[in-house]
Subunit: 352 residues, 3 copies
């Protein structure tokens, strides 16, 4: 998108969203405006992060991208946690994971596959990602089984949640050490430091200022959006689960999603796969456990126990994404399968 | 089998089965006669389909084989649906899937492996089939989890079942487009259009007439067989589940089963694997959802919710079949493992 | 370890353990002494088995190693069965499986990986092992699903358990036939007959005598250890599950564990992987079903129904071990992931 146009849209939507909040527009209108504003401010934050990462050099830059790539998602979730909307936080985490693995990966593979008969990428990385995805699923799955089938007390539940959160974060940090320090040369260039589309041509100073401004903007719009959710969900008879898993997850990741699809259509399917799978790994191994710790600091620990249908959604997404990406080749039909699974889950969550 | 002998057997068993039905033979006798008759008429239908497919040219022929390869199974199930034996329909679908993945594949791999130390086949196709199998499992698994753990109402259950059925059929049709049109050249010749044994040397006109006659014969014998099931299951204390999953599934697929085993023993293990896995995919992605739609047309929608033990049976079969076929090599011991799992499931279903 | 030192330790700990038992030391002291004694006597039994196997020739030797490699584990479990501690038996089997797949494999991969950037091994064997591990999981998983969701009676439960135990043992015997007779040449030398470290330089006669003596010593110390368990678990507020799965499993396999880690550090990662995965397969496909049959001979059949959390622990261990070993390459980070899953399970079991 043209940069001037983007900034105009960004400022207009931010202002409209602020106006909606302070002048009490109707709930639905407020929700729609804030949702569109989130797409813009999250996109802005993503671009600013990339630009700062660009100046920070390969290693630190890779780290920044890996850590703050889902900053918008994280900020929205923190406001949800402050509002004690724990169920919606977990639904939005679920939605972000399946959105990346099914919608983003599916669209990338489908649209890339319609243009190129077969697209190939380094499946050495896919192997590593597969093991990490299994780790992520285990980290979310084990607490649910133990807490439910052993009828854990509140304290046991909290302790296990904090412990698992800590272990997942340590695993994530060690993964950064592995992929950026000890075994950097063995993984494709695509990893982490991937060129996620055209980097904006901002100066170093400007990039840093933009990063700060974007973060603040995301924080404001997130709060305004969170305020509208209850009324909106009531008005349209939508469950918290559906809003969290499909609405919030999609608007919070829209910018990243479009980047992946555009890369796939330029035959850079490896980078698209890396964005989609890397982002979902980041959510499961870093964002989710950080939110557990943040909630504990707020004095009211959110547990890491996802519901059976959330775990099912995550589990089936990981399985089919793993199966599609395993051989380092993609075609349009694999994109169709990913999207079909997304539609099935969407209908099922809508009916809940 | 000698063709003359086959036709004699076909006519004799059909006549005996009709006599049994109209002159009210004992229930057990009627059941046994109809079961043997089904093996003959289903075999006849299979041969007629292949012969028509042969004249229809490669593309349309492949489509016919892919769509009507399980026609006998489909017709039997339609009569079960008309009799509102929904549980038995689902049990017979389960049985057809696990019968193909464990019994047919297991016998083919074992007997082929006893003759040839190692058999190899194109595992490019196995990769694709693996992803489709995962799609099939997801399609059957997701509704069960949502309906049970979210306590869906009857209406929600029906809506989800119809929606998932529609999505599975669309996936199946797009798979035909992929494998027969857009990526035909990339998959092995074995796919779909596989030479499933010696094609009968019938003229074009004869083939079409035979197809019509065979379909009518299957329909009649299916009805006669369905009539005997209640009394038979009561007399021998067998559960509907066991009869559906092991008896009906085996007699309905016997002809196809023997074709696969014979191919494996001629060292055409790839074709045998394709029959076994392709047939189970067809059941899960095409026959099962078509039956949901057929039941809706009869005014009494059968839902797509399988029981935990049926899903377990399907899930474990897919996992072990995927593991065995993944590397494009088979040996006798892998056949043993598949058959052992079949025996475990058989005993467990028998005890229910 | 220096052999003289080892024998001194062995005799001292055995004597102390006997003294503790007969002169009624405090429970905790008795427990600690017996636990250390088990490490020594189990190590002695392992060495004696290997030495006898060495003289028995490759085929019979491989069979001995494969069958009696977990003899110490088996003997401890038999004493637990005599004491009707069925829950602790199943917990210790679970612990032995996950201990091998996560702790032993994890430490081997991590420590080997810290020394060598990347370690490689024959992944032909890994493929076979993966299929066998899936078979093992199915054998333990199917009875649990059927018994629980179909509310099997006591008799149905017993019948299914004995049948599945028989099938698993037959599968295991046929695996020995496959890997040692019919397809011996196709699998790596690492299989079964692997050189598990430096073989002790004992004469043939001495080896046999040592084997008998070691077996008797394990039997005695096992009984003394089992006697202390109730009091010990009560005193420290540890569940039977935790003691079985983590304490007994670790002390019973300590010698084998250290052998695997030492091999990995000598860059023989293939042999280390084979010990870890081969040992867990032996537990699941041979030791567990033999214990079912042994309990039946004692007149009180232990069923093969594991709890949901035990099955979860086994299932996730198999999945991540399969994912790590699948590509025939390992690095330190994969070791970290295995150990992290072990820690998560350890905490969860501790909290139960």
């Amino acid at each position: 998108m043209n940069q001037k146009l983007f900034f105009s849209g960004l400022i207009v939507m931010f202002a409209l969203s602020a106006a909606g909040h302070y002048f009490h527009f109707g709930n639905t209108l407020q929700f729609i405006i804030s949702a569109i504003a989130i797409i813009f401010v999250a996109g802005f934050l993503g671009k600013a992060t990339e630009s700062v990462a660009h100046y920070a050099g390969q290693r630190l830059g890779g780290f920044l991208n890996a850590t703050f790539g889902n900053a918008a998602e994280l900020i929205i979730a923190i406001f949800l946690i402050r509002a004690r909307q724990f169920e919606m936080v977990k639904a939005s985490l679920t939605g972000a994971i399946i959105g990346n693995l099914l919608l983003v990966l599916g669209l990338s593979v489908l649209l890339g596959g319609l243009k190129y008969k077969e697209q190939r990428f380094n499946n050495r990385l896919a192997e590593h990602n597969a093991t990490l995805m299994i780790m992520a699923v285990i980290g979310l799955f084990v607490p649910a089984v133990f807490v439910v089938s052993e009828r854990f007390t509140f304290d046991q539940d909290q302790f296990l949640s904090l412990a698992v959160a800590g272990i997942l974060i340590v695993s994530y940090i060690l993964w950064l050490v592995f992929s950026m320090i000890t075994h950097k040369d063995m993984l494709a260039d695509e990893v982490m430091t991937a060129d996620h589309g055209e980097a904006p041509a901002w100066s170093k100073g400007k990039s840093i200022i933009y990063l700060v401004v974007a973060t603040v903007m995301v924080a404001f719009v997130s709060e305004w959006l969170v305020h509208t959710l209850d009324a909106f969900s009531e008005q349209f008879g939508l469950s918290e689960l559906f809003i969290g898993a499909f609405v919030i997850a999609i608007v919070g990741n829209a910018a990243e999603h479009s980047a992946a699809v555009l890369l796939a259509m330029k035959n850079k399917i490896g980078a698209a796969v890396e964005i989609a799978i890397g982002s979902s790994l980041q959510i499961a191994l870093f964002v989710a456990p950080v939110l557990i710790l943040v909630s504990a600091m707020f004095g009211n620990t959110m547990d890491i126990v996802f519901t059976p249908i959330e775990l099912t959604a995550i589990g089936v997404s990981v399985f089919i994404a793993k199966s599609v990406s395993r051989d380092g080749q993609t075609n349009w039909y694999e994109g169709v399968l990913l999207l079909m699974v997304y539609v099935i889950l969407g209908i099922a969550f809508y009916l809940v």
